[in-house]
């Protein structure tokens, strides 16, 4: 059996009295595209930040390629992050740097690549996400939201990671741009042979980019199956969510 590239085992996280993650257990195989769906406030972003090491779980284990990284710091954490890419919900581009400096940030920061080579590499990577070299010297504030998502995608794939996290990659985009982002995600993830973990509540996006879909509800994974099975899962929570119905076991978050 192949070692999962990422494994969350009974991960718990609370903020004061708010018990956000109540024992999340999840495996992601190398090259697999897993989409985690769930309502607002269900703990999806917290789960992702724990997996990436931006938060430390209160209990449970996080394994990256079989190695326990739950409490790792310093060089061990940096080694793991070198093999992981992340596309943040807001894009999270550094607004004091130009587009190409954002994309090549990891290369420049590593200190092993000259700035001119890093810029060439950044422009090549921008082309992969359908952006021309004319945007390279612009600042993030000078480009549209859809372009910012593409730049963020370029930044997440430039170092050819083994695992990429996508946090709500289509949020705030019009349906056409969102679909273009979905196509780019599929193209780049397959091209790299990387595994991908995407969290979203955008069902068309989930159906399109997932090999498997898991649903997070009240801090636990309550269902997981093939993307093609999500519309007839037999789980009332999943059915209500994927069909977007107000009536059902999930109470609307209002």
């Amino acid at each position: 059996m192949t070692t999962p590239i990422l494994s969350l085992q009974n991960v718990e996280k609370r903020f004061g009295s708010n018990h956000v993650l109540r024992g999340v257990t999840l495996d992601v195989a190398p090259g697999e595209s897993l989409v985690v769906i769930g309502g607002s406030g269900s703990g999806k972003s917290v789960m992702l930040k724990n997996a990436l090491g931006l938060m430390t779980p209160d209990s449970g284990q996080i394994l990256f390629n079989g190695e326990d990284v739950t409490q790792s710091r310093g060089k061990a954490r940096a080694r793991m992050r070198e093999r992981v890419g992340m596309l943040f919900q807001s894009g999270a581009l550094f607004d004091s740097l130009t587009v190409w400096e954002n994309v090549a940030f990891r290369l420049i920061n590593s200190g092993v690549v000259s700035r001119s080579k890093a810029k060439d590499h950044a422009i090549d990577t921008l082309r992969k996400v359908r952006l021309g070299s004319e945007v390279a010297d612009l600042y993030p504030a000078e480009i549209s939201g859809g372009m910012q998502k593409r730049v963020s995608l370029a930044r997440s794939i430039i170092s050819k990671p083994d695992l990429i996290f996508f946090d709500e990659p289509t949020t705030g985009l019009d349906p056409i741009t969102a679909d273009a982002i979905n196509d780019l995600i599929i193209e780049q993830v397959r091209g790299l042979g990387a595994a991908a973990v995407t969290i979203t509540h955008d069902m068309p996006s989930a159906r399109k980019i997932a090999d498997e879909i898991a649903m997070l509800f009240e801090g636990r994974i309550i269902w997981r199956g093939k993307a093609s099975e999500v519309d007839h899962s037999g789980n009332p929570y999943v059915d209500q969510f994927v069909h977007g119905r107000a009536e059902g076991p999930i109470q609307p978050a209002i």
């Binding site: 930040k49 550094f94 607004d95 990891r106």
Partner: protein, 270 residues
């Protein structure tokens, strides 16, 4: 907290309130101390981001020149007027240049510079880092294997350590010139005599104490900005609060550190 600090009928329990406030203050001091330790460890060990340090040096030093210069000239001018008025009560007007240069170099040059920078630089750092925190840029930085302490905070800290003493020297010069302007063109002093008295009276230690204060104040200003920015949360309100807290905290700490350092300088005869 509320059930600790109030009695059953809702009347505040002063002892519980004092206890809670003391505990809160101590934990805040502890957090600030740990944060300062991390920033200093990052600042005084490789790797250094020289481009970032230079950028912050320009931001902190060069762009603060107008506000520091204007503040210093008015403080020097007002100081000369007040000393002239006060010393006239016992016929000692000739000491105006001596007291102006002493007051500016040992005290006001550094304090005014630091207080202006608490508003301009510390609050600016807190707002910038706070905005980066709430837009996930700091998470993005960490996810790209870059430490926020090395990439963001250490350059701001080092730049302030270098720039603020330099600004203090500029404030000293401009402050003394403010006093000279008023004395010569408003109070009838002879320009050459005024400047000769100033230079003869001023010692190297007078300037040195101001520069040492500037070094410490620079550290306080940058650390408070970074600390409050790093702790920022809850969107625009949180960023605004971080900027306010950093400015107030930096100003209070600067004045407290000023008193402590003045006491030490007097004790050691500097």
């Amino acid at each position: 907290m509320s059930n600790v600090s109030t009695r059953k009928r809702g009347i505040p329990n002063p002892l519980a309130w004092i206890g809670a406030a003391t505990l809160g203050l101590l934990s805040e001091i502890g957090r600030l101390a740990v944060f300062s330790g991390k920033v200093k460890a990052a600042a005084f060990s490789p790797r250094w981001y020289f481009g970032q340090i230079w950028k912050q040096f320009i931001q902190t030093g060069f762009y603060s020149l107008p506000v520091v210069g204007l503040s210093a000239v008015f403080i020097g001018a007002a100081l000369a007027l007040n000393i002239y008025q006060g010393s006239g009560r016992f016929g000692a007007e000739q000491f105006v240049p001596n007291i102006v240069v002493l007051g500016i170099t040992r005290e006001l040059g550094a304090s005014i510079t630091a207080l202006m920078l608490a508003g301009r630089v510390s609050a600016g750092i807190a707002a910038e880092i706070g905005a980066m925190r709430v837009t996930e840029q700091i998470d993005a930085l960490e996810s790209l294997s870059a430490s926020r302490f090395r990439y963001l905070y250490a350059p701001r800290f080092l730049a302030a350590l270098i720039a603020v003493p330099m600004l203090v020297i500029v404030a000293d010069i401009i402050g003394v010139m403010g006093g000279w302007l008023v004395s010569v063109y408003g109070l009838g002093f002879d320009s050459t005599v005024y400047l000769r008295n100033t230079l003869d009276f001023m010692t190297r230690n007078d300037v040195l104490t101001g520069v040492i204060k500037g070094f410490v104040f620079g550290g306080i200003i940058a650390l408070m900005g970074c600390y409050q920015g790093d702790r920022s949360k809850a969107g625009a309100t949180g960023v605004g609060r971080a900027a306010t807290l950093s400015m107030v905290g930096a100003a209070v700490l600067v004045l407290a550190a000023n008193y402590v350092m003045s006491t030490i300088f007097v004790e050691v005869g500097l």
